[in-house]
Subunit: 297 residues, 2 copies
């Protein structure tokens, strides 16, 4: 690819391009990929980059880079953990790279984590090439199942989890069912009263329809007062603006009574890269044009 | 440009690519540019895009798009305005597209705005092709000068402005001197006691050196307690994470006593796209790894 005017010439093979036909984010990689395997579901690859460390892609969409993964993983875990003091039993759907599990296991109060990832190739690639992200995938409190998360939640017992985390890829391929109302009805059912779910809810700008549709679906299932989208800077994803959503089964508001003291101590103890108590609160402030997208849903 | 794996083929001429040799943000444009002129300083172009409205570029770096410009312009203006109630006399350096002037003129308390833009071609292109952005460039309270901002500030009288806004492009070409200590010493001198400056201070991730160096320079000039970087989602810029910096001449903290009631009323009255009182406060919360970059400077 050639940049007009500047005259710089790039070898196109050195770039991984994540695009939606209107805009594209390209990350330069060092030569050939380190890992490539076609699983039954998708093409899983690992690259080395020039300034973002190792990078995991699925069907050439960026899943995580070593430089930026903490933004996402810390925010999907520590926000629900410091808004609720009694989380012991956690279910995680997806999360094959292991970053969400690493963050969960920093919390000594958690007694058990069940993780259901559909694609063992993602887990294997991450264990081999992303050791700082996958570091807790052998943790004794973890029950790691290679299985269909949608079916698992359908079969789960009522009121059996304090926290569910939906750490999925985009709503195409195996993740498509993770954006449906029937799936979230099952999630709601298997949460204990007051239980919480946090969800990868797409970019309000790059995937506006998915963001809006999911918000509407969640409000129908959880009730509008219990659905709280929040924003994270994720420079490894197109537009850099990504949303997560916190919903509770008639439980705690994510900000009004969150445990700021514990959050402050934890942030310092673990030298977190992104999350801190100010960020916890700030993430729920939405720009006007993002509020407008979901105000009538 | 061809996307590997997906097989999608793009006509490279249809993309404007903003890059730093390690990552790139590309925005698809409709055919030929609408405007192109080589000024004495730079190549100024206007394109039409598929989902971001019209786009202004300088030397093929994206300056603004109609879809996203409000994020930047509202945040560089309304944050200092609601942190300080007595701003009447404003100096703006740069800002050729006019978006900053449009936002300033929403405040009836402002009596006079002096704008110093070095390149009349930027002003002309914006007036012709970006009417919603440049809409206030004929405002009777505006004194628009085509001149060198560095020289203008050097010659300005002591203590003559309540607010200075540095709305510059990146520190290459004509904007390079806007990132120097001597320039900010002049800005400090021409501010009234308690006066404020807000500054385009680059991406902490895409231009980390410029962000860190400028922060250090500003702390030397204003004192560390009076320098407050804040973050804005700007999807039209690479990484999507951009910083502005609020500094005062021993004046108001930007958040501790900001006028939330007036901010709330103003946001509703003008149906702002990005700024609101929650965002005003939230923008100053910095992720851990951004704090780390500037903690020792």
């Amino acid at each position: 690819m050639t940049t007009p005017e500047t005259g710089a010439e790039f070898n196109q093979d050195e770039w991984v391009i994540d695009h939606n036909n209107k805009s594209a984010l390209s990350i330069r990689v060092k030569g050939e990929c380190l890992f490539k395997e076609q699983s039954p579901f998708q093409v899983v690859e690992v690259f080395d980059t020039y300034d973002r460390g190792k990078m995991l892609t699925i069907d050439r969409m960026v899943m995580c880079t070593e430089s930026d993964e903490a933004n996402y993983h810390e925010m999907i875990v520590h926000v629900p953990m410091f808004a609720n003091s009694s989380i012991k039993d956690v279910l995680v759907i997806g999360a094959g790279d292991g970053g969400t599990i690493r963050e969960l296991m920093r919390h000594p109060g958690i007694e058990k984590v069940t993780m259901v990832e559909i694609d063992e190739v993602v887990v294997r690639a991450s264990k081999q090439f992303l050791p700082t992200i996958s570091s807790a995938l052998e943790h004794p409190k973890l029950n790691l199942l290679i299985d269909d998360g949608i079916k698992f939640v359908k079969d789960a017992a009522n009121a059996s989890y304090d926290l569910v985390i939906i750490d999925s890829s985009d709503p195409v391929g195996p993740s498509e069912g993770l954006f449906s109302k029937s799936f979230y009805e099952d999630v709601y059912r298997c949460l204990r009263p007051g239980g919480v779910v946090t969800i990868q809810s797409e970019s309000p700008l790059f995937h506006p329809d998915a963001f809006v549709d999911l918000n509407k679906c969640l409000k129908e299932v959880f009730g509008a007062d219990f659905v709280h989208p929040y924003l994270v800077f994720i420079p490894m994803y197109p537009t850099g603006m990504w949303s997560l959503t916190y919903c509770s089964k008639q439980g705690q508001h994510p900000v009004n009574n969150f445990d700021r003291d514990s959050s402050t101590q934890f942030t310092a103890l673990h030298n977190l890269r992104y999350y801190n108590p100010d960020i916890h609160q700030a993430a729920f402030a939405l720009p006007g044009y993002i509020q407008q997208k979901i105000i009538s849903t």
